[in-house]
């Protein structure tokens, strides 16, 4: 195969191709995007697997993420340390899951984690309130937010424990055909 790049070894590219939804060209393109965020921190040669982590502020300043109200949660969910500082692996993983080839279940799993602000594997009422406030930029009154959260729990909570588990969330996502097209970042 014609291989003119020296960033990755062939095995590394193969491994990335098998574990993400990207082709070789896209992986290289994403690497260059990653490198553009901090050219002095990221070496141009990844063949000996350097350990480089970009701080959250750089990730959050990407044009695809900078105006997204959930950008901090997205970075935290996909980062290894849970703080939003991402290695190249985390970066590729994030955009692979948010690409259009990822299956619905995988996206639903990560969407659940993103909306679970306190990381307790349940979307409880406080998580819901935070989500609604971020969605509407605090335009709704607190009573309206409360009403919305109650109605959401009424509709989606099936075992009546007052919070949404992963199964409840997945069951609701199955009923939403638009989810695949909205939970998608083009890079």
């Amino acid at each position: 195969m014609g291989n003119k790049q020296t960033t990755f070894t062939l095995e590394q590219l193969d491994a990335y191709q098998d574990t993400t939804f990207f082709t070789k060209k896209e992986i290289l393109r994403l690497f260059y995007r990653y490198r553009d965020l901090a050219p002095q921190l990221v070496p141009p040669d990844y063949t000996n697997k350097p350990y480089v982590k970009l701080p959250y502020e750089l990730i959050g300043s990407m044009p695809e993420l900078k105006d997204n109200p959930f950008r901090q949660r997205i970075a935290e969910v996909f980062s290894e340390d849970g703080e939003g500082n991402m290695t190249l692996d985390d970066f590729l993983d994030m955009f692979s899951v948010m690409s259009e080839m990822a299956p619905r279940d995988l996206k639903a799993y990560y969407a659940f984690k993103i909306y679970d602000f306190n990381n307790d594997d349940y979307i409880c009422k406080s998580d819901l309130e935070k989500t609604v406030n971020k969605l509407t930029r605090k335009e709704l009154t607190p009573e309206e937010v409360n009403l919305v959260c109650n109605k959401v729990l009424d509709e989606a909570d099936m075992d009546n424990d007052g919070k949404l588990s992963l199964e409840d969330f997945q069951h609701m996502i199955v009923r939403a055909p638009d989810f695949l097209s909205t939970f998608h970042i083009r890079i």
Binding site: A15, E139, T182
Partner: protein, 796 residues
């Protein structure tokens, strides 16, 4: 401590074939949990250490100890006290290690879930049913008999089991399974490495035993195909045109407007396919063997608009194509002197057959592609039992992550805010239904609006009919008097009228809709689409009837097929010009007016439904005309490419993001259904009628001197039978299956019974879903009951 407590449960009822529905049994997990109490006491020490080490990340509730990462073994600290007030620490500890609390956080849980999934995958050689894949997130404890704890050795065991399972899967399934796992990339890579049995490279196996030549060959073949497949995917990706433009559009306007441009791309693909088939089998062949008579007309500037004049005797229209075998000099009858020597014709090319079959095959393949994409799109957008649950779906699925421009993000927030408010208001208004007077008023308004719209459709249709008769009469008179002047311009009058109607009526329907004031915006869109569709299809139906009626086919026009082809070409061109005008006036001028007059930042909105209907209309014209003008798909491709750039530029400069909610995948399904049903079906009916029942013209085209176009096919079959007596089965098939209607009835009967079966299956699924929901609610109640009991026991 709680060591002394003993609970007696019944023996575990282990079912032999585990099914995902069994995993809802919480009782057994409690049994195992209570048996782990001694282990839990040891873990308490570890927990205390971890609590001091882990830093909280500035969240509101400091009582919450959050797990630092998704990979590390996280032992959850006791649940927040406000949710379970007064529970003792022992109870809380047990609750904290319930299976439902440890799912998703613990790598072991994920791994065991995936081990089970692959094991199940292997046990049944077919694809696992849908229910199993999406709903079971709990690890099945039955199969492994492994406790759900997070000690390192257990994880390693599970991991090894998972690796073994992955190794036994075929390569492509393994890759798919790896890609779909919710683990980190490093984890996936190590799993891949271990399960493929090589040290990261799939090129040279490092097995100790020498492979036989056969398996080595097979191995290289598989690797070769895999590399080929990946390079094909990369190539396809570079071919993806307009990737950056689509990203820009979706970044500013979201998925709804993006769906219009994706639809446009789909149409270009369809037309390209059609054009390629016709190009290879019909156009290129005829171009290689031009007819003997030269083209008398001269090229005036008006041809690209009218399609007549110089273009009448070119490859563009039906009349140009020969009705004999192309490279056989005897058949054309032109050069008889060379014919009396019996020459063998090298690769004879029968033009009429090629013409008929190329168009027929292209239509059949387009039909298959359309039905396939329609069924796939329908499968994605329709869900059994998806009637309720609007608000939850809006909260979690309404935010479009593709939108990246700051102003559009702000607009999107406003949108969602408005939608949520509307939803709340709707819930409240549902509890106060309208009284009788209001309802009657609404009904009257609705009836009146529909009567007006149908009446206008009728009026337009009558106008088009009389106008077309008049134009035809005038054209006829001028032909008999052989006056060429002004003839071409006259021909443009009818397309002008049709396009004008198609441009102005939708605005009238918008006014009607504003007067009607429907409650739900979704219903508004449906009604608008319905009215526009009725108008366009009725006018097209009338024009088709006019073209195929006796007047045109037996009048003085020399070649009525070329005439019909030209009419359709003119309609396509006029449609394009009016779309340009509409974009210019509707968007640019309107924006200038709005900005100047009202001094507001409000800009016109891009009307998706109307634009998509225009695309469908243009495509219908192309499919109607492809038999009479084989180059029409090429014209349509050019038109669509230009339209893409013009619409995109106008959108970026003049429009704002949509303020109404738009269910993108649902509407895409509707659009492709509309493309299939009225549009393609109508064109196929028109084509079938032309082929089976209409007499082709005497002096031009590939089917001269035949009674119907289908006769050429029949002649070919009889010729085959004569030349090769062994092919009687072919003629038998032709006679009894294609010409006999009984076979068609049988096929329709089978289709209807399949549809009925599927309807029953869907009904059954609905019932199962409601039963399962009840079961889940009951389980939840059981769980709370048991927790209370537990607290009662431990709290003493």
């Amino acid at each position: 401590m709680a060591h002394t407590l003993t609970f007696t449960f019944g023996p575990e009822n282990v079912s032999q074939t585990p099914s995902p529905y069994d995993e809802g049994a919480v009782h057994d997990s409690f049994h195992q949990l209570i048996q782990e109490q001694s282990w839990l006491a040891e873990q308490e020490l570890v927990e205390m250490q971890e609590m001091t080490n882990v830093t909280s990340r500035g969240r509101e509730n400091l009582a919450y100890i959050v797990s630092p990462a998704r990979q590390t073994e996280a032992c959850e600290a006791p649940e927040q006290t406000e949710e379970h007030p007064g529970f003792s620490s022992a109870t809380l500890r047990i609750l904290a290690s319930m299976p439902s609390r440890t799912i998703g956080r613990n790598r072991g849980a994920i791994l065991s879930q995936y081990y089970n999934r692959t094991a199940r995958l292997r046990r049944r050689s077919t694809r696992p049913p849908l229910q199993e894949v999406s709903h079971s997130a709990r690890p099945s404890l039955r199969q492994l008999g492994i406790d759900l704890d997070s000690s390192r050795e257990e994880e390693d065991t599970k991991r090894n089991l998972l690796v073994k399972e992955l190794q036994s899967l075929p390569a492509s399934q393994r890759v798919n399974m790896l890609q779909a796992m919710p683990l980190s990339l490093a984890e996936k890579r190590s799993l891949r490495q271990d399960s493929s049995g090589h040290s990261g490279t799939l090129r040279k196996p490092k097995t100790t035993a020498p492979l036989s030549h056969c398996s080595r060959l097979k191995y290289y073949v598989i690797i070769g195909f895999r590399n080929l497949w990946y390079s094909w995917l990369s190539f396809l990706h570079t071919l993806q045109p307009w990737h950056y433009s689509l990203k820009q559009i979706s970044g500013r306007f979201g998925s709804s407007i993006l769906s219009y441009f994706l639809f446009l791309k789909t149409l270009i693909m369809f037309n390209l396919f059609f054009f390629l088939i016709l190009l290879v089998f019909v156009v290129a062949m005829q171009a290689a063997y031009p007819p003997a008579t030269p083209n008398n007309e001269t090229f005036t500037g008006l041809e690209p608009l009218t399609g007549a004049g110089y273009f009448s005797h070119t490859l563009m229209y039906y009349g140009y194509y020969s009705n004999f075998t192309l490279n056989d000099p005897c058949a054309s009858g032109s050069n008889i002197t060379r014919c009396w020597q019996s020459q063998d014709v090298h690769l004879p090319y029968n033009m009429p057959l090629a013409y008929l079959f190329a168009v027929g095959v292209a239509f059949i393949v387009t039909c298959i592609l359309l039905v396939y994409s329609m069924s796939r799109s329908f499968g994605e957008s329709y869900r059994v039992g998806s009637a309720s649950g609007d608000l939850a779906v809006k909260v979690f699925c309404a935010w479009d992550y593709k939108v990246i421009q700051a102003r559009s993000v702000g607009l999107q927030s406003e949108n969602i805010c408005t939608q949520l408010k509307e939803c709340l208001a709707e819930r409240q208004s549902r509890s106060h239904p309208l009284n009788l007077c209001n309802r009657l008023q609404r009904l009257v308004v609705l009836l009146l609006a529909w009567m007006i719209s149908l009446g206008t459709v009728l009026g337009c249709v009558i106008a088009v009919y009389y106008f077309s008769e008049y134009i035809h009469q005038v054209h006829h008179d001028r032909l008999t008097r052989s006056m060429q002047t002004g003839n071409e311009a006259l021909l443009l009058a009818l397309p002008l009228l049709v396009s004008l109607i198609n441009l102005l009526m939708p605005y009238m329907y918008n006014f009607l809709a504003a007067w009607e004031k429907q409650e739900s915006p979704v219903l508004e869109v449906y009604i608008a689409i319905c009215r526009n569709l009725i108008l366009k299809m009725v006018i097209l139906g009338l024009l088709c009837y006019h073209w195929l009626s006796r007047k045109v086919t037996s009048s003085k026009i020399k070649c009525w097929e070329t005439y019909v082809g030209q009419e359709l070409y003119r309609l396509v061109m006029m449609d394009f010009i009016f779309t340009l005008l509409d974009t210019f006036f509707g968007e640019l001028i309107w924006r200038i007016i709005l900005e100047g007059k009202k001094q507001s930042k409000q800009r016109p909105e891009f009307d998706i439904a109307r634009n998509v209907l225009e695309l469908i209309y243009g495509q219908t014209l192309t499919w109607l005309g492809v038999f009479f003008a084989p180059l029409l798909p090429a014209v349509q491709i050019l038109k669509l490419v230009l339209l893409f750039y013009i619409k995109k530029t106008s959108l970026m400069r003049n429009c704002q993001s949509p303020s109404k909610p738009w269910r993108a995948s649902h509407m895409s399904t509707i659009f492709i259904t509309l493309l299939c049903f009225p549009s393609f079906l109508g064109a196929s009916i028109f084509l079938s009628y032309t082929i089976w029942s209409v007499r082709p013209s005497e002096k031009c085209g590939p089917f001269q001197s035949l009674a119907t176009i289908y006769d050429s096919g029949k002649m070919w079959v009889t010729q085959l039978e004569k030349s090769n007596p062994n092919l009687t089965w072919f003629t038998w098939i032709h006679q009894h299956m294609i010409q006999n209607t009984f076979f068609l009835f049988v096929i329709s009967g089978i289709l209807l019974s399949v549809i009925y079966l599927n309807i029953q299956v869907v009904k059954g699924q609905r019932r199962v879903i409601s039963l399962l929901k009840e079961q889940i609610a009951n389980e939840g109640e059981d769980k709370t009951f048991l927790i209370q009991k537990l607290h009662a026991v431990y709290g003493k």
